[in-house]
């Protein structure tokens, strides 16, 4: 008998489950999703800006112009490199700012859903020092319940909710921003995107 058979033998016969109820959980409607998201993001140590579509490049230049090495798989004027052109993830180590696209955000916790089919390296999100996520301002859901109803996980290979920069409180419960992933995180909520 294989190990699989041994385990399944103990966990019971394989029978089609009875339908599990759909949970309709009543909740308070969030009045201003944008405001709520920005507050949650701040609590998660991230920062957010509401900007117009035409101002993206200007804002990027204002925040990250100068000597910083920026990267994006999209066509932004400020981006110095396109990470897709590199073979190994380790070659992305010196990126200061990675500019990526999010699909939607969650008001209750400041998380943004990132699932970029055209991004070659998953490492991009955690290897950079500063992560910038650009997403349409009108794409904000109330809670994780709505969030997971919206995604079609079966179609995706990799996706992540990111809420603020990487952090830890493993030394005496003191919050320190910048553990292994990005040390800072900025979200652009873009109007007209």
């Amino acid at each position: 008998m294989s190990s699989k058979e041994k385990i399944l033998k103990k966990t019971g016969e394989i029978k089609t489950p009875l339908e599990l109820e759909e949970f309709k959980i009543e909740k308070e409607k969030i009045k201003d999703k944008t405001d709520s998201f920005l507050t949650s993001l701040k609590n998660a140590a991230g920062e957010g800006y509401i900007i117009k579509k035409d101002d993206i490049n200007k804002k990027l230049e204002e925040l990250f112009g100068g000597n910083l090495k920026t990267a994006s798989v999209y066509d932004y004027q400020t981006a110095d490199i396109n990470p897709n052109k590199y073979k190994k993830a380790t070659e992305l180590e010196d990126i200061d700012v990675a500019i990526v696209h999010g699909d939607f955000a969650v008001a209750e916790n400041g998380a943004v859903w990132i699932n970029e089919k055209n991004n070659r390296h998953r490492a991009l999100y955690s290897i950079c020092k500063h992560l910038v996520i650009i997403l349409p301002k009108d794409q904000i859901v109330d809670t994780m319940i709505e969030a997971y109803k919206r995604v079609n996980l079966k179609e995706l290979k990799h996706a992540v909710f990111i809420s603020g920069p990487s952090k830890t409180a493993d030394i005496e419960q003191s919050l320190v921003i910048g553990a292994h992933g990005a040390k800072a995180l900025t979200v652009f909520l873009v109007e007209g995107l």
Binding site: K6, N109, I162, A169, D170, I171, E172
Partner: protein, 446 residues
């Protein structure tokens, strides 16, 4: 060493105990604020409990479904009946790829299986990358808490360890400085390791993919740089559908640290191009209790550690006073389901105050089950001779009016010796017996 003895060691340093107690209570309070901010919190707990209970009833179906979907996503799936098989599978994967160094993010299962020493013995370096786990690894200690592995240490102790192992500045105990030094040291290891091991928070049957939650981003960085990702999961990590994640992700971080969500909630559904992803599904005695109505509920645990943070015994006795891998109330339960004879003392490491049960996001009736284990422990005759004798004498005296009367009248004579005899009375004041009994006073009234 049994729990009372080990706790006594911890209690020697009163200032440290007070600090430890307060540090955990601080986390518990953050959890309360987070939970209270959600009006529908109780409904979420209810739903989470129902989902887990349903899944455990059809576990074979969902495990099979999960494997089928994972395979079609291009993930390699392995099954391990016990810790030994799990370790062997992991080792063979690494050996096949000639990997000598792996970065590992938090996984209590690999801790349970003692994977690190197993791999080390075979010439593979395992680097724990969660900061707390890294700290205890550098000190050659096990984690003392499942979410906060180094909660038993003060920053000065951690600083000293870093001075010695990472050559940090002498006397600099600033948490931000120490964290950044660890980041620099581990960055190098992330970039050079060819293998990455992670745990699993949730495995979604209909998707055939897993979810890993971290705050530090160590699972994300580790898996995305390495060419081989191995994820170890217990059979109880399965949930049926994507939409169920909406419920569990709302509960998990709030219960654990009081955050609205962990920084990273990462979905691994397929290997990255040109890389390999393996999932090892481990039983290791979990299925033993699947048909046990009373105790199977413990398999619903999502390892948030809320019961640990709230427990008055844990806070004042520390993680190392528990002889099992997972400390605190739910750890004691898990240990008891495995080997009651060996871990039975942990069923008594509780005041039965019920705080653990009240706080549990998946509504495991922890303290009721601990009480049930105490009964079983006594019934099976595992209690020490001294304790058994004391209870036997006590019972026969209390049952018999004549003996009771004699005992009561002579109690003041025994009183000075009671302290030495009484196991419970250690560290407590034994009340002085009253001069007259209630019966006598009442009799005089007439």
């Amino acid at each position: 060493m049994n729990h009372p003895k080990a706790a006594k060691e911890f209690l020697k340093n009163e200032d440290h105990v007070k600090w430890h107690d307060e540090a955990l209570w601080f986390v518990r309070q953050k959890r309360d604020i987070a939970a209270k901010s959600i009006k529908e919190w109780e409904e979420l707990r209810e739903a989470a409990q129902k989902i887990k209970s349903h899944t455990l009833s059809y576990l074979s179906y969902y495990l099979n479904e999960f494997e089928k979907n994972a395979l079609s996503n291009g993930i390699k799936v392995h099954w391990a009946t016990d810790a030994k098989e799990h370790n062997k599978i992991v080792y063979n994967i690494l050996k096949k790829h000639q990997i000598k160094k792996v970065v590992k993010s938090k996984s209590m299962l690999t801790e349970e299986c003692a994977l690190n020493p197993y791999l080390k013995k075979r010439g593979i370096e395992v680097i724990d990358t969660d900061l707390g786990e890294r700290i205890v690894q550098l000190r050659d200690e096990p984690p003392s808490h499942i979410v906060l592995p180094a909660i038993h240490l003060k920053k000065e102790q951690i600083g000293k360890t870093f001075e010695e192992k990472l050559h940090t500045q002498k006397g600099n105990f600033d948490p931000a400085y120490l964290t950044n030094e660890a980041r620099k040291d581990l960055r190098e290891k992330f970039l050079s390791a060819k293998g990455a091991i992670t745990g699993v928070n949730f495995a979604i049957a209909e998707v055939g993919g897993i979810v890993v939650c971290t705050n530090e981003g160590n699972a994300d960085l580790g898996t995305s740089v390495a060419k081989v990702h191995i994820a170890s999961m217990g059979i109880e990590k399965i949930i049926p559908k994507t939409e169920h994640l909406g419920i569990f992700t709302r509960l998990l971080a709030r219960s654990a640290t009081g955050q609205a969500i962990t920084t990273y909630t990462t979905h691994f559904n397929a290997p990255e191009e040109g890389k390999e992803m393996h999932i090892v599904i481990v039983d290791n005695q979990r299925s033993d209790i699947i048909n046990d109505k009373e105790h199977k509920k413990v398999l619903a645990c999502i390892r948030c550690a809320a019961c640990i943070n709230t427990c008055p015994i844990y806070r004042r006795s520390g993680g190392y006073s528990y002889s099992y891998t997972i400390a605190g109330p739910v750890g004691s339960l898990l240990a008891n389901t495995r080997d009651l004879k060996k871990y039975g003392d942990l069923a008594f490491a509780s005041t039965l105050c019920g705080s653990c049960t009240n706080i549990c996001p998946v509504k495991i009736d922890i303290h009721h089950q601990l009480l049930a284990f105490r009964k079983e422990y006594v019934k099976k005759g595992y209690v020490s001779f001294k304790k058994r004798l004391a209870f036997k004498i006590g019972a026969s005296v209390l049952r018999n009016a004549f003996l009771y009367e004699i005992a009561r009248k002579t109690l003041s004579l025994f009183h000075p010796f009671l302290k030495r005899l009484n196991l419970w009375g250690e560290g407590r004041e034994i009340p002085k017996p009253a001069k007259k009994s209630f019966k006598e006073i009442y009799g005089k009234r007439k």
